[in-house]
């Protein structure tokens, strides 16, 4: 049998298993919005661990990050740092979000903020920002799945077919099982891709150089500039410490602000589950190592990939690996993409209905119709993202970065929600909007950045200042409401 046929069969087998797990796992959920979106707040440690790990193990882990390590060396180390630094605050924030969610029946991020600030405008603003960030993010995951599938089948499976196969499966289990489908498939996908990544990540350097140490010794001799921070910039010149450090810090601040992560806090069974998930989370960054090993193994390899992002598939295909293993690699990359994409699709549906549709268009919608509408919205999001992924040449990365810039701007709001009583609705909204606009303008026009500082950092400073200033000159919310809210968030 030809290699691409074997690869396709193995990948198809993986897709079938994912579908079965995703389809079956939703049976236990209650027929409510809380059941569909928050899994009846019953996720245990195993599922929470993998659902959270999927945040960093996206298609980016198999394509973008190794591409960085291959072409820019130690610049790619920043991912380790921001992942750990960014997630640590979750130890404090996560349980608070979950407690409030339990008390008020929340299932989305905007519900939390708008409950604290009693503001419909805030809810709508967050919904818009979230959806604008989600769609290109989903499209990138789809594209990543399609690209890997295409590469390892030597072009026999077109990109759109690969993306459709992977995301057809995702769509089916998201529509059928909601967050339970997301949770249990993520667990399966997580274990699967970690096993594949470690086997290949240790085997390839061994096969090519005789081990990890000898490989780095060789790179140290021939390309030492790749092994010390801050590594290289996008065009191969040495990168600056300022750019490296601010990339770490901005990414860290924004990391826990992703709306779909907040939604997973509501799914956790109890506070201890959330805390254990947080403290175990950095293990996922250690699990990224083998993917970096494969990328570094490519540095001294005689043939370069067509683009740095292709370094992993390139290495897998250029060494004499059995076709079945190539298929398992492809399935692992698809698992990474799907375990991130499914949560995003599911979240898009929920955010649209809970934070936009219900607030603006149909306030009286009952639980049954909301569930139906969430499914329709998730399906619509899938169709739109698929169109973006396969039809447009628009730069999705640019769109995602712009939207992520806005997501980062939720950070001061999140802190004020739990730790600053005097924050007012006007202050919260003004901070968010001004911060997001400043970030957007400085992203588009880098020449206006003071001292070349990261756009997001400037945005955060202006945001925080605006939040505080506007809060102080506007009338505070009734003390009773804020005190109640804070009491609930602290009660263990």
């Amino acid at each position: 049998m030809e290699r691409w046929v074997v690869v396709t069969l193995v990948t198809a087998g993986y897709l079938v298993i994912s579908l079965v797990i995703g389809w079956v796992s939703g049976r236990k959920a209650s027929d409510t919005v809380t059941g569909y979106v928050a899994g009846d707040r019953g996720f245990g440690l195993l599922v929470m661990y993998f659902v959270t790990g999927a945040m960093i193990f996206s298609a980016f882990a198999f394509l973008g990050a190794p591409g960085w390590a291959y072409s820019r060396g130690a610049a790619a180390f920043y991912i380790f740092s921001y992942g750990v630094l960014g997630f640590a605050p979750w130890y404090v924030l996560g349980p608070r979000i979950a407690r409030v969610g339990r008390a008020y029946g929340h299932v989305t991020q905007a519900e939390l903020f708008s409950a604290r600030f009693q503001s419909k405008a805030l809810s709508v603003a967050i919904a818009v920002v979230s959806i604008v960030a989600f769609l290109p993010y989903i499209a990138l995951q789809m594209k990543g799945a399609g690209i890997v599938f295409n590469a390892v089948t030597d072009g026999h499976v077109p990109i759109w077919v690969g993306a459709l196969a992977a995301y057809g499966v995702v769509m089916l289990y998201v529509l059928k099982s909601g967050v339970l489908g997301v949770g249990w498939t993520n667990t399966f996908q997580g274990i699967f891709m970690l096993v594949i990544a470690w086997i290949l990540g240790l085997w390839l350097p061994y096969r090519l150089y005789g081990g990890i140490g000898p490989m780095f010794e060789r790179i140290a001799e021939l390309r030492p500039e790749l092994l010390t921070v801050p590594g290289l910039g996008p065009t191969g010149e040495p990168w600056s410490w300022g750019a490296y450090s601010s990339a770490v810090l901005v990414s860290a601040v924004g990391f826990t602000m992703w709306p779909h992560l907040f939604m997973k806090a509501y799914a956790a069974k109890d506070d201890d589950t959330l805390k254990l998930t947080t403290l175990l989370y950095p293990t996922f960054l250690i699990f990224l190592l083998p993917l970096y090993f494969i990328a570094f193994a490519g540095v001294l390899f005689p043939t370069p990939p067509q683009s740095p992002d292709f370094i992993l598939p390139h290495m897998i295909l250029s060494t004499d690996i059995a076709p079945v293993v190539v298929g398992l690699f492809c399935a692992g990359a698809l698992a990474a993409s799907m375990s991130t994409g499914d949560a995003l699709l599911h979240a898009t549906g929920a955010v649209y209905v809970q934070d936009f549709h219900r607030k603006v268009l149909q306030p009286e919608l009952d639980d049954h119709h909301r569930r139906l509408l969430i499914r329709i919205a998730a399906l619509a999001a899938g169709v739109i993202a698929f169109f973006f992924a396969v039809r447009t040449e628009m730069s999705l990365v640019a769109l995602l970065l712009a939207a992520y810039g806005a997501v980062v701007q939720l950070a001061p709001l999140a802190v004020a929600t739990f730790f600053w009583k005097r924050a007012t609705p006007a202050g919260a909204l003004a901070g968010l909007v001004v911060g997001a606009l400043v970030t957007l303008v400085l992203t588009l026009y880098p020449q206006f950045r003071p001292y070349g500082i990261h756009a997001g950092v400037v945005g955060l400073l202006v945001n925080t200042f605006t939040l505080v200033a506007v809060s102080l000159i506007t009338r505070p919310l009734p003390d009773e409401h804020v005190s109640n809210f804070l009491d609930v968030s602290r009660r263990a």
Binding site: F80, Y91, L227, V229, K275
Partner: protein, 87 residues
């Protein structure tokens, strides 16, 4: 230990980590040799701080748990809910 001390120590670790993994804290560790477990020292440095963060939050978690069981046994705690970081 008092809740505030635990919180300060935990927050202190992560602040130290933020400095150790950016400029200028990275400089002393930013070298290729010695290789540790086959990794360049600069990469091992990352792994070291990552492992440390698991240990620190693990200790905070264990401390909270012990404090809770003590309280449930009826002994007087030290007040405040504490230990959850830099509230």
């Amino acid at each position: 230990m008092k809740p505030r001390t635990v919180a300060t120590l935990a927050v202190g670790y992560f602040l130290a980590m933020a400095i150790a993994l950016t400029y200028p804290g990275y400089l002393p560790a930013n070298r290729i040799r010695p290789l540790v477990f086959g990794l360049p020292f600069s990469l091992f440095w990352q792994m070291l701080w990552i492992s440390g963060s698991i240990a620190v939050l693990g200790l905070v978690f264990a401390w909270e748990k012990r404090r809770r069981t003590r309280r449930e046994r009826g002994e007087r705690g030290e007040g405040g809910e504490g230990g959850e970081g830099g509230a």
